[in-house]
């Protein structure tokens, strides 16, 4: 049942929103956090399990080094302090997705704490930076996957029973928790979205996760409360779970603002509760109230030893942190002379790193961008693979550009050469030689082809002569076809006009 909401602008005129975001990221390690089971996605159910992740009696956890390193690197990238000493804790609860009856997590001693992330959004006064304060980033483990059987909807409500696959139980998770984010005013939805997007870019840059929100490797919970003025004390918050796309983060914040405002204005209090986000309808519904289900009886994990990262180790890891993606983006936009829109295209195509690599190897930035966001994106898309999976290197592109600049290849022939690269036919020169790719620079064959094209379409010459130069396109096309793309189209056009005595 949908609850009453208030118009967003009215809600914002009456209340000051305070945001909190909890993001869970599944690490891309080879093995689980506390056992050597594989983390590969999509295996048959209950085949990536062992006594440790099934919680069998007597099994002892062993800590994944890359999991810890990733946690420290994430902390550093988020400007956090790294604990000198920390330990794991057991979070006790009974739910079939966690066979141990507790989740191994961190409680009072997170590995990273006190950080921030700056995010930029468009405001009425232009681009503006908001600093999102980060409370902590801690290590924990994912749960198994329940599927519910019976009932009408396949949901947990009304199900007759459930089936559990523990392949995912124990996969390393990092939970990143913000402090209350204040001062966003009406931009709370945009700040929330920009934060999750910036976090995703950082995590991707670190190479610690594939950060696919749609597959659940990045998941977001949105906390929101309203207060009457920025000076009032914090209001009661709701926690909207599993908001799993950037667009939904923005919508969920907006929705909760309007829902809270309606309640508060009607004199009802906001219920402190967990809510479920519904992507399809764009509303949240009440889940369970915060009650004794939240009494997790944390205690220190006796089966795992504390972690005391040496400062040398932390500095070693700090040296592996790539430039902040937002800073890097601004630098590249300036270096390459792109518009923000062009840059969006580059980033959305997933080609940024590949273009940077090519530019570093000496390929012109505009050319590298053209190939990776154009032809190569199309090819990857057709084949349903990622750009990185194409066997095209900066060396290939560099040679291709040299040949184009020298006039011995045109765009069309260059594309054929790339097809050769992708088909594994060797380097550019070998492909050009083997496929006989070369622009026909001799006018003789071109003139012959032009004559042929004109003979095949006798009316076209008169049309062009009458001043309809656009008609030349069909002749040029016919010549290109006859020469299997090996002609220089501009030269064909020139020769055609010369022949017909027309000037452009």
């Amino acid at each position: 049942m949908a609850e009453a909401i208030m118009n967003y602008d009215e809600a914002i005129s009456k209340f000051d929103p305070v945001l909190g975001l909890e993001v869970h990221v599944e690490l891309g390690t080879n093995t689980k956090m506390f056992c050597g089971c594989s983390t590969v996605f999509g295996a048959p159910p209950n085949t990536h399990v062992c006594p440790v992740c099934l919680g069998l009696p007597g099994a002892l956890p062993t800590l994944n080094k890359i999991g810890v390193e990733s946690a420290i690197r994430i902390g550093l990238a988020l400007n956090c302090e790294i604990a000198q000493w920390c330990r794991f804790a057991r979070k006790n609860y009974f739910y079939p997705d966690m066979p141990k009856n507790f989740q191994t997590s961190q409680y009072d001693e997170p590995i990273a704490f006190e950080g921030y992330l700056d995010v930029e959004i468009d405001t009425d006064e232009g681009r503006k930076t908001f600093r999102v304060p980060i409370e902590r980033a801690h290590m924990e483990e994912d749960t198994g996957k329940n599927s519910h059987v019976g009932g009408a909807t396949g949901r947990i409500h009304g199900a007759d029973y459930s089936l559990v696959d523990y392949n995912r139980a124990g996969i390393p998770l990092i939970e990143i928790v913000t402090k209350p984010i204040t001062g966003t005013g009406k931009y709370a939805p945009e700040v929330a979205k920009a934060y999750v997007a910036a976090l995703r870019d950082i995590l991707r840059g670190l190479g610690v996760s594939d950060v696919k929100m749609e597959q659940g490797s990045l998941r977001c919970d949105v906390n929101l409360s309203l207060r009457e003025t920025p000076e009032s004390k914090l209001g009661i918050r709701s926690e909207t779970k599993n908001v799993n796309s950037l667009r939904s983060v923005e919508r969920a914040v907006r929705y909760e603002v309007t829902r809270h405002a309606a309640r508060l204005t009607a004199g009802d209090s906001v219920v402190q509760e967990t809510r479920h986000w519904h992507e399809d309808t764009g509303i949240s519904t009440s889940g369970r109230p915060k009650s004794d289900a939240e009494d997790y009886r944390y205690f220190p994990e006796p089966d795992l030893l504390p972690i005391a990262p040496s400062r040398e180790w932390v500095e070693e890891l700090r040296a592996t942190i790539p430039e902040n993606p937002a800073v890097r983006r601004a630098r590249l936009v300036a270096d390459w002379g792109l518009s923000e829109l062009d840059m969006n295209t580059v980033i959305n195509s997933g080609a940024l790193d590949l273009i940077v690599e090519a530019v570093d190897a000496g390929v012109d930035a505009a050319a590298a961008r053209k190939w990776w966001t154009g032809e190569l994106s199309r090819i990857a898309n057709d084949r349903g693979i990622e750009l990185e999976e194409l066997p095209v290197t900066p060396v290939h592109l560099k040679r291709l550009e040299e040949l184009i600049t020298a006039g011995s290849l045109n765009d069309k022939l260059a594309r054929q050469a790339l097809e050769g690269v992708i088909a594994g036919e060797g380097d550019i020169d070998a492909i050009v030689a083997a496929r006989g790719l070369a622009v026909v620079s001799d006018d003789g064959p071109l003139l012959a082809a032009i004559d042929e094209a004109l003979a095949a379409d006798p009316a076209v010459a008169e049309t062009i002569k009458s001043g309809k130069l656009a008609a030349a396109g069909s002749v040029v096309g016919a010549v290109m076809k006859a020469t299997r793309g090996q002609a220089d189209a501009a030269r064909v056009r020139e020769l055609l006009f010369e022949k017909l005595g027309v000037s452009e």
Partner: protein
């Protein structure tokens, strides 16, 4: 006195999914209270210069390399399950009817 009430015992029993008849709550409250009182004797000592200990073993940073090991087969994993369906553990309805 640690002051464990019957309500505390009922709450803990619920969290731990242990069934304790109402007429025994007082019995367990007394026992748990006595245990906590015994442990509380530690607080009579001056521990101001004793660092807090979070683990009895004086070791840190014991890690495993991120290399896959041997997992169980689904048949092995499920061999002790009370109920199985579709290569998955079958568990009773999670939520009560509302």
């Amino acid at each position: 006195m640690s002051g464990i009430s019957q309500d505390d015992v009922a709450h803990l029993a619920h969290l731990a999914r242990i069934s304790i008849p109402a007429d025994q709550l007082g019995h367990y409250a007394d026992q748990l209270g006595a245990i906590l009182d015994a442990v509380a004797q530690v607080s009579s000592l001056d521990t101001s210069d004793v660092p807090a200990m979070s683990h009895p073993v004086p070791m840190t940073n014991v890690f495993r390399e991120d290399i896959p090991g041997v997992s169980l087969t689904a048949a092995q994993a499920l061999s002790g399950a009370p109920a199985v369906e579709d290569e998955r553990f079958r568990v009773p309805r999670i939520l009560d009817e509302e």
